[in-house]
Symmetry: C2
Subunit: 446 residues, 2 copies
């Protein structure tokens, strides 16, 4: 049986999971692929800590270069994380004619275009299903299943830590800090949770699916990003009264000559399937012209779900190798079967991402206002001057001896106008606190 | 650019959709595949009715054999439906060395094993993503994304007509017949809705995913099937009071040496994501060892969603042709890349499907009983004698001048015992009507 040699770089949580699957599932993988996936190397600087795996002699090594430069290796799996070392290893592997698999979304978001070009130049594959949505087949669905569709929009809950925290606040009414501590205690949140809770991890993932969906280069720098650290139990409660749930959404919309791509806390109708995605689970809805709305749901992180996605990439490449070398006396290499970014390289364009100030949507606005006659008319006057009309307004009884809460839902308005109006409102002497604004997505249907 | 020649057999709803996509999306498909998908023939006995498509001269023909026997054709797409003609055309195409794509679940359920063997003998591919769940990538996810997983169970809402009817009864409290008429008026239900509402369409689909998931031959004849025609607004209302929703589920469980495969109305917790799948939408949850629970959700039928799935199969085959013929002077044919049933042919076994009498689950039982002292103790006595213990029992106030409703939820019991106990209960002279039994799935987690 044809042997396909694999090297894993980085034996942390996901690396360990991939090694386990390759060893435990060897027989069944052979019966599905018709080739043997041979784990030739696992390289990690720390070869002392017990990973609970009994590697064969010579497999567990500390020198990644030995694996990357070994002519027998067909597939290099980068699971080191971070950007510098990982990038160097990936580029070196590609230049050595190895196919590369990774789960490293931060790296792809920043250096993906360079990596894709290097893979093309060297006629090898670069695969990254595990970088978005863990075990959910987001990338395969976009590149393969929806191939005949124009994708209109993608809306995702792509960070389990944030979704866990929002679920916790929503179900128990606890403040953000308490929910975050619990997420850390349960192992969902990193010791430094900045990338997660400030939305950057979701943005990395959004930059990848946005490129794949519309045939454009990866562009992380123009994605608007807001995190969940300012979300309060009070806003979640008010949202519920209006029939909404608050989720950290990664939103991408295809406006043909421009694209929307943004990550922020969002109010969605409680009847929408995404509103029922609880805890650390992830989900993505994809709206496309032929299919209408489809949704994928699953574990977005964790050792084995992520390892499962890495294995699907390894298997794809192994199957490509088998198909393209079946009748040839030659070579280890396969030809690239599915274009890395979904479209042939020559069809990848640079579609600009709209500034967030240009988007059109509805808004939830909460103001703390001094309880005085005429305040509401002053506020609505400012909004009206900017053509922002109100769907619904509630003045909430005061909970303590201070300002009252005024909560409003607007009709569709232009973000720029909303920002200018709120700046003006915040300057009123009857508004002692910064207004809270949460965007609403009403038009995601499912 | 390499041209890949396609023939569509059958220009009904789905055939028309596939032709439309191939023509409307030609450019974008080229930019994703690097080959040109050329619709050479559309064959249908009726070439007179306007399909709203302007075919090139010579494309729209009435003689399918001309397409099947044309040496230039690479891929034959069977969308005639039914079993006899469709089967003959598919086998003839495979023997002619054509790859075949179909959406015909009834045909695959009955003749799939023969077709798979014929495809193997002739070294061509047979693809059927559109046969299960419309545009949801169920088959691709099982065969490719979850390749390194042991699949534990698959639970699906696989028939949009039934889900539409159950949603309607649930939301409006109307009786089954009224909901069915509305489904027909809206075009969801066929004029003869038997295959849909009696569960056979779901069973066809379940036979396919069960084979793919566990590496076994397709077996439709041993699947237990019950439809929804006996579901009443009353049972839906009682289910809700217990925290359940009633859905027609296709359930498949991997018990290693045996498999469960059954289609029947099922009560699931209202907190489960499947409980939020409304109207004509479909969804499938897959529980696997590495990934845990994943779910796919989307339009399970309809012209364009189904056509989208057919196009994903056509594209897969086209990409295989490109990969395997890139450097060859030869031939139209590709090598088969993913085994048709997920496992290499030699690894496909015959795992038996358990008789439904052997399953273990919880049950909802509704009895109409004459309101007389001692009735309840008689009933619970019979259940107790068969080791069936009760989780919860409610005696419902009488709605009319007749028997009262006794509603019970059992703990886990063996189906055979429940059937025997109910037979005995039905024979009591205080039980004037046939008992209603609905199985409960409590252990599907998501």
């Amino acid at each position: 049986m044809r042997k396909i040699n694999i090297a894993i770089l980085g034996c942390g949580i996901v690396g360990t999971g991939v090694a386990k699957l390759l060893m435990d599932k060897q027989k069944v993988l052979e019966s599905k692929i018709g080739a043997s996936l041979n784990l030739k190397y696992v390289a990690d600087l720390d070869t002392q800590t017990d990973r609970g795996i009994k590697f064969r002699e010579g497999v567990f090594i500390s020198d990644a270069a030995k694996a990357i430069d070994d002519p027998e290796i067909d597939i290099v799996v980068e699971l080191i994380g971070g950007k510098n070392v990982a990038k160097d290893f990936i580029l070196r592997a590609l230049k050595n004619g190895k196919h590369v698999v990774t789960a490293n979304k931060a790296l792809i978001a920043e250096y993906g275009n360079t990596i894709v070009r290097t893979a093309a130049t060297n006629s090898v594959d670069f695969a990254f299903e595990a970088s978005v949505g863990g075990c959910m087949p987001v990338i395969k669905t976009i590149r393969e299943s929806l191939v005949a569709n124009r994708i209109n929009s993608i809306t995702g809950i792509l960070n389990g830590t944030c979704n866990y925290i929002l679920t916790k606040i929503s179900q128990e009414g606890c403040p953000f800090d308490v929910a975050l501590k619990e997420a850390q205690a349960k192992g969902y949140a990193e010791a430094d949770p900045f990338l997660d809770i400030e939305g950057h991890d979701s943005a990395h993932k959004l930059s990848i699916v946005t490129a794949l969906a519309y045939g454009m280069e990866i562009n992380i720098k123009d994605i608007h990003v807001e995190g969940i650290s300012r979300i309060t139990p009070m806003d979640i409660e008010f949202a519920r009264e209006f029939g909404y749930t608050i989720k950290l959404l990664a939103i991408s919309k295809n406006n043909t000559d421009k694209v929307e791509a943004r990550v922020h806390p969002t109010m969605i109708p409680t009847t929408h399937p995404l509103a029922h995605v609880h805890g650390s689970m992830n989900a993505v809805t994809i709206n496309a012209d032929a299919t209408g709305e489809t949704m994928l749901y699953g574990a977005g992180a964790g050792m084995m779900p992520t390892a499962s996605a890495v294995l699907s990439d390894i298997t794809d490449i192994a199957r490509n190798i088998m198909v393209s070398s079946q009748n040839e006396t030659s070579s280890a290499t396969s030809r690239r079967r599915v274009p890395i970014l979904g479209f042939q390289d020559s069809n990848i364009t640079q579609i600009p991402i709209m500034p967030v100030t240009e988007i059109n949507t509805c808004y939830y606005i909460r103001l703390a206002a001094v309880d005085r006659p005429g305040v509401l008319s002053k506020i609505t006057g400012i909004l009206g001057d900017r053509s922002i009309s109100i769907q619904s307004v509630h003045q909430k009884g005061r909970r303590y001896n201070g300002p009252v809460s005024i909560v409003m839902i607007t009709h569709v308005a232009i973000e720029k106008d909303v920002q200018l109006a709120l700046k003006e409102i915040a300057n009123l002497d009857v508004i002692p606190e910064e207004p809270v604004v949460i965007r609403i997505e009403d038009d995601i249907t499912a």
